[in-house]
Symmetry: C2
């Protein structure tokens, strides 16, 4: 993650970013929002299209108090995101929680939901900065190694900036919270099956010319196993 010098804004509590369910899982620390956003690889973007919600997975990046998104100028969803409110969710599943009763099954997770109206970036330097943040989010260290966006590519791309002030964060961890009566009855296994994402060994592209080595940051990532962005 690229760190900015901007001081963190505290999370707001507008009606739509105020948790009404499982409030004990809510987090209000701005650093927790950043941590979830930085750990995620994709987000789910919700837009309003022809009067109905549409959700789609997409990549993103964060710099300070701003979340960046991009897409094709030909995309109806991107046009909807340019002209109305959006909701962006980043969720990481850390494990499955096996309880003693069906309704207490759960997941351990970290999730962030951001609400707001994105602003389309029009200045070339701002756009390039945002694209760099997005590429570096999913592939840290890659931007400076590769060909930069051409004029034509930039013209075909919408770049959006979303302010991170209206957001909520939820985190669940630890064992199941079973009813006392079920614990007393006993006889049913309860616990957690942890889940994590791992990188495997890099695969060269078929059309790669001989002698080009896998970049160090890709090797390191592959060897680190556990997914940690930034």
């Amino acid at each position: 993650m690229i760190e900015s010098a901007t001081p963190r804004t505290p999370l707001s509590s507008t009606p739509r970013s105020t948790l009404t369910r499982s409030k004990e899982r809510g987090r209000t620390d701005r650093a927790e929002l950043d941590a979830v956003l930085d750990a995620g690889l994709i987000c789910h973007l919700g837009v309003l299209l022809h009067g109905a919600p549409v959700v789609l997975p997409t990549v993103y990046g964060r710099d300070g108090d701003t979340l960046y998104l991009h897409g094709s100028t030909g995309s109806g969803n991107m046009r909807a995101a340019m002209t109305g409110d959006v909701s962006v969710a980043v969720s990481l599943v850390d494990g499955l929680v096996y309880a003693r009763s069906a309704m207490h099954f759960s997941m351990n997770y970290r999730s962030a939901v951001v609400h707001g109206r994105p602003v389309e970036l029009t200045e070339r330097e701002e756009r390039l900065h945002a694209l760099r943040v997005i590429v570096e989010h999913s592939a840290p260290g890659a931007w400076d190694r590769v060909r930069q966006p051409s004029k034509k590519e930039l013209a075909a791309t919408v770049v959006l900036a979303l302010d991170l002030t209206e957001a909520s964060v939820k985190v669940r961890s630890g064992p199941p919270r079973d009813d006392e009566a079920d614990i007393e009855t006993g006889g049913v296994w309860a616990g957690v099956l942890p889940l994590r994402q791992v990188w495997d060994a890099p695969i060269d592209s078929d059309d790669l010319e001989p002698g080009v080595e896998v970049p160090r940051e890709v090797v390191r990532r592959s060897e680190s196993g556990l997914i940690v962005a930034g």
Copy 2:
């Protein structure tokens, strides 16, 4: 996954489920939709709340042509899902695609997006069936081992059924698709860093009484490593 005897309905192509971008990644086979939904662990549900889209992660289950969702009767998002259109996305990231140019970076993924208006289930047997499908989706083999939902738990739960006929599926796999000019220039590594989810060893709950063993299906899942639902 629980298989139903109902024949598969082909995927529809309404305006919102017709892909406008990267159409070559689109899939129209109904079996591919089922495969993505069955492989996912959580979905992202999009609803319309106070005129704006809201996206939130939640669990789900599939039985034949129906996707089941549940939530608390006290949840504003669930109330919104009971009275309007929703969009449900399930996305699996299979790898990061390192290209020779910034704008060709991509992900390998499988994603499904379903649109429609959920129906609230009111019959006790239907509701129990749906809850079983949801629990068995994330924890196969668990339902029959644990305490069933009580009257009180059922009264506090909304159960929704969403028809799977309006949906789109996108799959990307394989190496980067670089521009010919970038391939000719050469010197930049291009390839894929595969990503997968693995289960770790199960952790007993602190309050588990001695002598209760980890169920066989949980041990098997943990030993299988790779996440595959069903």
